[in-house]
């Protein structure tokens, strides 16, 4: 990015919502940074109830198989090695606590409805980030891994000094991109399980039906893991950051690097 252009762009009044009759003052020490475009915000929030529904209905479906685990020793998922099992997904108390047993038809009917919304939302997100150029702010760069390690160490209070960033730091770039990849993997393994005869090439690509199920399950766990870290980080980051995911704008110091300026530099 041309740094001179970026600096002068930063000084420009915010263009998104300002008419000529209402120029933003030049002398402010802060500015409103257009952080998240409207489309990104919609897609982000649509995912919240939809993924919740998909995972919840998934548990209802999965129960139906895990209930047989003790009579029929097929691949029901667990943490363990060889004959040692540390944890089995899921223990009886968990199912009973969440009233999971015998709701498999609800699970199936919700799963095969909300899958459409999840898929459409995901495809729309890929198209949007690709066509708008937003992918440049999200995809990891060469320096992202090093930055991510530094950011993590700073987050853990082991080191000081955050690397420079625009919209997202290296850790965020890696986390959000893997999240999108996990979403794609959910869709593809889901399809491989849903149509294992008609799409048997896809199913074979994942190592067969049982393996596709295994990947589907563990990718869900990966998404849940992302979600937990995400929530903690959002709480730690505070209101200004959270608000930006709703309103799109973040209050920034004028001297902070501007994602909007970078967006302009693509054109």
């Amino acid at each position: 990015m041309n740094s001179e252009a970026a600096v002068s762009a930063m000084r420009e009044p915010d263009r998104a919502n300002t008419t000529a009759a209402q120029p933003q003052p030049m002398a402010a020490s802060i500015r409103l940074e257009r952080k998240h475009p409207l489309a990104i915000r919609w897609m982000h929030w649509v995912n919240f109830p939809v993924l919740f529904t998909m995972i919840w209905s998934g548990i209802l479906i999965y129960w139906n198989d895990s209930d047989n685990a003790y009579r029929y020793p097929h691949r029901v998922y667990r943490i363990g090695l060889g004959k040692i099992t540390v944890f089995r997904f899921f223990p009886d108390w968990f199912y009973k606590w969440l009233h999971v047993p015998y709701h498999v038809t609800m699970g199936l009917s919700y799963h095969f409805f909300f899958m459409w919304i999840f898929a459409i939302n995901g495809v729309a997100w890929v198209l949007y980030t690709w066509l708008s150029g937003e992918w440049r702010l999200i995809l990891p760069q060469r320096r992202s891994l090093r930055d991510a390690i530094q950011v993590t160490l700073v987050d853990l209070h082991l080191r000081k000094g955050l690397p420079s960033q625009t919209k997202y730091n290296g850790a965020q770039r890696i986390a959000y991109t893997s999240c999108a990849l996990m979403g794609a993997l959910m869709l593809l393994t889901g399809l491989a399980i849903y149509k294992p005869t008609q799409l048997h090439l896809l199913t074979s690509l994942f190592g067969g039906y049982e393996m596709a199920r295994w990947i589907h399950f563990w990718t869900t766990m990966g998404l849940l893991g992302f979600f937990l870290v995400h929530i903690v980080q959002v709480v730690l980051a505070g209101w200004n950051n959270f608000r930006a995911m709703v309103s799109g704008y973040e209050v920034q110091r004028v001297e902070a690097a501007s994602a909007e300026a970078e967006r302009r530099s693509w054109q």
């Binding site: 915010d14 020490s29 029929y72 009917s109 960033q165 799409l199 980080q233 902070a256």
Partner: protein
Amino acid sequence: MSDEWPEAHGEASQRVEETLPPQDEKPVAQSASSAGEDEAVQNNEAQPADPQEANDVLRHTLESERPAISEQTLADAAVLATSRRRTRRAFVGFGAAAAAAYSFRRYLKDAPFDQMIPGLLHKNYAWNADVSREILRDHALAPTYPRSKAKTLRVNGVFGLKKQLKPESYRLQIVGARDAERSPFYVRDVTAWQYEYEVGTSPEDQGHDTKTDPSKMSSTKMAPDGMQQKTEEDENRTGRKPRGLEEAGESHSTLLPGTPGLLLQLEDFLPRLQRHELVLQFKCIEGWSQIVQWAGVRFADFLEMFPPAPIDGKEPRYVYMETPDGDYYVGYDLDNLRHPQALLVTEMMGAPLTQFHGAPLRLYTPTKYGYKQIKRIGLVAYTNEKPDDYWTRLGYDWYAGL
């Protein structure tokens, strides 16, 4: 994550006071002018005719609140005012979207159910089936496996099989076949055939089916409102009681007395059809799968031998099958049963079918889940009415295409 400005307003003002000396009054007024207009728009008030008036008002209030005020403070305040306005607007939109999502959830829960699942989701199953029929067409062949990987299938659901059928009393009823009247197997009423059963129970393992709640294992508890009554009415209508004694009740598609058709013994058609062996992966909607070896004849060949009579000049769209006692019943797309791997099975793992695996004749097709693989077929009927289906009545997808 990158929150570098959590309390922008406070910090900004503080810094202004520390570092900047108070400035002339004139720039303040200029700067306030824009902030003032902003404020007016935000409060949705009418725009003053003369901007100078607004400036005066604003300068007055701001000066009274904070006598020594800097241009930067005012500018920052203007930024924050814009932020507040945008935030308010965005959160109203956000709240509206959340409310819409919640209403949709309530709608799914409260709107009328169709065959034990929310009506919209039931429609969605039909939509998914149409998409699948259009795009995938059920043409692809399922992968086959070496015989060494195959194992005897686990028994999972014995509806319609609980009583031991006397082999000599077995007949296959075919309804809707072309030129049936001219066939030597034609009878005026296929429903008049009496199947006979052994006394006593089978030593075979009945398995453990987890699709239904054991505490609700009776049709009165399992059946949705009105279905029990409907079933009783149907039984009175058909006069064929007792049929459909399992959870789902009696099929709407079961035959009325006096339905003509063909009545066949296995020897009447099996020896004339080519035998096929296939090792395929069986998949249950519960989640498990198993590789099994099957042997029998292709359903496509059976359809050649007993082609359906056209209805309104066209081939009927569906096939309906049920067990001899009518307890279990399944509907199919006729097209789907032409799949070259759809078999009318007589042997599993190199041995004749046992009672709980559907002796003497069952279906296996790799394009459907296990609950569509009907065992002990008593009736094959060609029809244009979408046939009733045991597990669909209990909330499962009718199409169930793999």
